[in-house]
Amino acid sequence: MSLNVSILLIILGSAIVTFIPRVVPFIVIRKIGLPKVVIKWLSFIPICIFTALIVDSFIIEDESLLSIDWRVLAAIIPTLIVAIWTKSLSVTVIVGVVCMATIRFVF
C-alpha cells in the first residue's frame, strides 16, 4: 500500500474538476426556471450523447485521419437488432458481449 503525494494531488485535482460540472446544474436549476427553448434543447441531449458514445466506440484514435474498428461495428449490427427486438437492457448487453467475443475469436 503506497500513496505518492504527487499522484494524490492529481487525483484530488481531477476529483474537484469532475465534481463541479456534475453538481452545478443541480444547484442552479433550483434557483431559476429554465426557459422553454433550453428545456427543448435538453430533450435532445440523451439521444445525441448515446449516439456519440456509440460512434466513439468504433473509432480508433491513431496517426491516420480516421480509422474504424470494423469488428466493433460488425458487433453493433446484431446488438442493435436484439435491442429493437427485445427492448431489454440486460438481454442486449449479454448478446452484445457474446457477439463481440465471437467476432474477435473468429477474425
Partner: protein, 241 residues
C-alpha cells in the same frame, strides 16, 4: 379500509431505493467489466491498489480514469492531467442539466448527492424512465447511483489486485458491454417517442454520426462527443417547431 388498501398500492408504485438497486442490475455487467479493466490498466500504469481505489472513489468516471492513467504514464504535468479530466468530464454538465429539473423539490444536500454520483449509465436509466413518463424520486435515484458506485469501486480495486493474473479483458468482448448498453438505451429512448417524430430523431442520429466521424479527424474523441451533442441538439431545436 379501502382507502388504506389504495394507499398501500400507491406506496408500492412509488419508485423505491430497492427498485433503484434492481434497475441498476442490467448496467452492472458494464461497470464490473470496465472497472476490472480500469484496475488492470491502473496497476499497469504503476498505480498502487490504494491509488486505484482512491481514483475510483474520488473521480468516479470511467473514461477519465483511463485517460488519467495514460497521461501519468506519459509523464504529463498536474495541470495537463487535471485540465484534460475537466474537458473529458464536462459532458456530465449536460447530463446533470437534463436530469436536475426532476429533483428540484428536494433539499440541496440530496441534489448534491445525486449530482456527485451521476454517470452516463445512471443518467441513461433515469432518462429512460422520464421518457416513459414514469415517476422517479430521490430514493430510487440513490438506489441506482449507490449500487453503481459500490460495484465500480469494488471492480476497479479487484482489477488492481488481480491485474497481474487477468489477461486482456478485451478478448472476452466484455468491453463491448458499454456500447451494447448505449445501443439499448438509444432504442428505448426512440421507443418512447411519438411515432410522428421518429423520422426527425433518426435524422438527428444521422447528423451525430456524421459529426462524430468528421470531428474525430481533427480533435480527441472526448471533445468530439461534447461538440457533436451540442451542435446536433441545437439543430434539433432550430428544425423542430
Amino acid at each position: 379500509m379501502n382507502q388504506l388498501a389504495n394507499e398501500i398500492t400507491f406506496e408500492k408504485n412509488l419508485p423505491s431505493f430497492s427498485q433503484g438497486v434492481k434497475d441498476c442490475v442490467p448496467t452492472l455487467i458494464g461497470y464490473i467489466s470496465i472497472g476490472i479493466a480500469m484496475g488492470i490498466v491502473g496497476a499497469a500504469s504503476n498505480l498502487s491498489i490504494l491509488e486505484v481505489a482512491l481514483l475510483s472513489i474520488l473521480v468516479y468516471a470511467g473514461a477519465a480514469q483511463f485517460i488519467i492513467c495514460a497521461l501519468l504514464v506519459s509523464g504529463s504535468p498536474f495541470s495537463v492531467i487535471v485540465f484534460t479530466t475537466f474537458i473529458v468530464n464536462l459532458r456530465h454538465f449536460l447530463l446533470s442539466m437534463t436530469i436536475a429539473p426532476s429533483f428540484k423539490n428536494y433539499s440541496l444536500l440530496k441534489n448534491f448527492g445525486i449530482g456527485t454520483l451521476l454517470t452516463d449509465e445512471s443518467f441513461g436509466v433515469a432518462a429512460n424512465k422520464i421518457a416513459k413518463k414514469e415517476m422517479i424520486n430521490a430514493s430510487w435515484m440513490n438506489g441506482l447511483n449507490l449500487t453503481a458506485y459500490f460495484f465500480w469501486i469494488l471492480s476497479c480495486t479487484l482489477g488492481a489486485v488481480f491485474g497481474k493474473w487477468i489477461s486482456n479483458p478485451e478478448v472476452l468482448g466484455l468491453d463491448f458491454s458499454l456500447t451494447a448498453m448505449f445501443l439499448a438505451l438509444l432504442v428505448l429512448q426512440l421507443e418512447s417517442m411519438k411515432r410522428s417524430k421518429l423520422k426527425f430523431y433518426l435524422l438527428l442520429i444521422t447528423y451525430v454520426v456524421l459529426s462524430m466521424l468528421v470531428l474525430c479527424m481533427f480533435m480527441p474523441s472526448y471533445i468530439a462527443i461534447l461538440l457533436s451533442t451540442i451542435i446536433v441538439a441545437t439543430i434539433g431545436v432550430v428544425k423542430d417547431k
